[in-house]
């Protein structure tokens, strides 16, 4: 493993789009150290964990790429998860976003919300739990924020017959009660974490501590494309099915999209969809982080405002103070409420291959309502951040290309878990009129 973020073809890319910057050493293949994406990644862990990470790296290389493993995983993804997930055209939402079609020609939704358990997290969890079984591990531990990765891991463990313990910040245990119940129903032990900010970051700290203590017999199923090598590569490879399916479906219709859009917390759904398009230099990649209450207030916009630091085993962008203490992040969505980000995203940002924006809590809520009313899809709060920036992205890309553009958005998860938040924000109020008609009417001359 240890792929570099941007592979060759950069000179061509520069000519055609000017987006890929081959002169930036930080994120080209100049750095051959394993587990690095340009200047980011690596393995910053206690020595006790290094042998386990080396074992996992070998397994990632040998097993995950073996045809037997791929066949077994593919069968699970098809027969159990329900893959391939649909690629839905979102014609009504496209008209709400851009009533006259000046910027947005087509909008496609990759429907990870239709996976079993309701989010993309199951792709990674099934792959890792299958890997843990092959490695002869006796139990699986995981961290979770919103509970989606915890539910996915508990599900995979139930289906494949391994005991499971999920670490979850005590605050998240309170605000995501239905997911706690789901994990328990699936037979997992949910361990609330009382330290620090009592959220995702602290859950990951505690999972790492438990792993150090039981490292010989336990597999740590990391939920995002973050953490020490090989996790960022392993998770990206397991999530890449999202982008591969979407790309194949779009190519069948004739062309790749002009831009791909996904939300970013740790960044696993985004890297899963980005990886399939990295070599399509003309396809712009956009990640949308959580701006929380705003970029000058409490937020989780790590790529936008963070600094280079080391958190949870990788060198990446982090939110930290002058002493190097990690700051608490804030987002209305528990899944994006994290002060770090996967190292491959930091490298893609440094090279200019991907662009990262940030959407506020309020913008995400408005977008969730818009999608529900125009498309009949209740999306997760995390996902809503990606939708919140579609107007801006369509306008930017249309201006750059001089024509309306097609966008692909990853619907990373469904919003059942967020109903209480949506209700509290007043999203349940009856609509005054049809959103498409009203949008078109407002824009009409």
């Amino acid at each position: 493993m240890g792929e570099s973020a941007s592979e060759p073809n950069v000179s061509e890319a520069n000519e055609s789009t000017g987006r890929v910057d081959s002169t930036n050493d930080e994120a080209t293949s100049a750095d051959p150290r394993p587990g690095y994406f340009g200047a980011f990644g690596g393995r910053f862990v206690a020595e006790t964990l290094v042998p386990a990470l080396e074992e996992l790296t070998r397994a990632t290389h040998d097993l995950v790429s073996s045809s037997d493993f791929q066949a077994e995983l593919s069968a699970l993804l098809r027969d159990y998860v329900g893959r391939p997930t649909p690629l839905s055209p979102a014609r009504r939402l496209a008209r709400v976003i851009d009533p006259r079609g000046c910027h947005l020609s087509e909008l496609w939704l990759k429907r990870e919300d239709l996976c079993h358990t309701g989010a993309h997290k199951i792709n990674n969890a099934l792959g890792q739990v299958l890997l843990a079984k092959k490695l002869g591990k006796q139990r699986v531990i995981a961290e979770t924020g919103a509970g989606q990765h915890g539910v996915a891991t508990a599900t995979a463990c139930a289906a494949l017959g391994l005991p499971c313990e999920v670490f979850m910040g005590a605050l998240d245990v309170e605000r995501q009660a239905p997911n706690v119940l789901r994990m328990q129903l699936l037979g997992a032990t949910v361990t609330p974490v009382e330290s620090g900010s009592r959220t995702l970051k602290d859950a990951m700290n505690e999972a790492l501590r438990r792993w150090v203590t039981h490292v010989r017999t336990t597999h740590y199923c990391v939920g995002s494309a973050a953490g020490p090598h090989p996790y960022p590569s392993l998770v990206a490879e397991l999530q890449r099915v999202i982008g591969d399916e979407a790309r194949a479906a779009l190519m069948e219709r004739g062309a790749p999209p002009d831009a791909v859009v996904a939300c970013i917390g740790g960044g696993s759904n985004a890297i899963g969809v980005f990886r399939a398009f990295l070599d399509d230099a003309e396809v712009a990649l956009y990640g949308v982080e959580a701006a929380g209450e705003g970029l000058t207030a409490r937020h989780a916009a790590t790529l936008t405002l963070g600094q280079v630091g080391v958190l949870h085993g990788a060198r990446s962008k982090v939110l930290m103070d002058a002493d190097g203490q990690i700051l608490e992040a804030h987002s209305i969505s528990a899944g994006l409420d994290y002060p770090g980000v996967g190292p491959e995203h930091a490298a893609l940002q440094a090279s200019g291959r991907a662009t990262y924006l940030a959407a506020t809590d309020a913008e995400a809520l408005a977008a969730a309502l818009e999608v529900a009313r125009s498309e009949g899809i209740i999306i997760a709060l995390e996902t809503a951040h990606a939708f919140a920036k579609l107007r801006e992205i369509a306008a930017r890309e249309a201006a750059r290309r001089g024509r309306p553009v097609s966008l692909l958005v990853c619907v990373s998860g469904r919003g059942d878990k967020d109903l209480v938040t949506y209700q509290a924000a007043g999203l349940g109020a009856p609509p005054r009129e049809d959103p498409v008609r009203s949008a078109v009417d407002q824009e009409a001359p």
């Binding site: 206690a46 020595e47 042998p51 970051k201 958190l311 085993g313 002493d323 190097g324 203490q325």
Partner: protein, 283 residues
Amino acid sequence: MTRARLEQTFARLAEARRAALVAFLTTGDPSVAESADAARALLRGGVDILELGVPFSDPTADGPTIAEASARAIQRGGSLRATLGVAQALRAEFEAPIVLFTYYNPILAFGEQAFVEAAAAAGVDAVLIVDLPPEEGAGLRAALAQAELCVVPLLTPVSDSARECAALQGARGFVYYVSVTGVTGSAAQAPGAEHESSDMLSHHAAAGRAARALAERSGLPVVVGFGIDSVAKARAVVEAGASGVVVGSQLVRLIAEEPHAAAREAKLSAWARELRAVLSYPD
């Protein structure tokens, strides 16, 4: 100067047929000034090597005792900068080697070169960076070596010969052998650990033997840490041939539980005197 101070300390101990008593405390708990006074009390009591813990917000290698102390310390002004200040003050008063025990991110935020210069100027002798395995931080290691500061390598019961070779590459001063697969303070929380079972003591004796074998292979002194919280465990480690014992969580707990500074310092000095007295090697 700095490497010499560690080498001299271990040479003197070898001559006296005694293992090193290494004491750890979290700088800034209960306050920066009080932790400096606690360190003074330990050194007056006869501690051979002092480890100053730099508080970090996300101490994933630490158990609850040191993790909670770290969180309190940050609230009370603890930081890498404050720890360097404490080291500098202690260096003016004591000759004992001082080791900074830290995570990598505070150094990264401080600036690697600036940190090396500040640590050397403060009279720090060695740095132990708990989340920086030998494959990482080449630039920092080179700068530390240039300044004659030792980087203390960590080895564990799951380290194979390849890991050992990687860790010992360019190692100076001493080696830290982690007695358990676990976080700091681990053995203290093991089930049934309130009464020292013969299992627990034989576990520590095994760690002591591993340390002695490692010392023979590496040519460096090897101290044993993690979970040593009693005279019996310390003696088990030393009798099996370790070059020294590190006590951390037990001291951090002692500091946290005694609110009166004078009483706290008296207890720390007494603790050091008592333990130091029993660390001689058997004839």
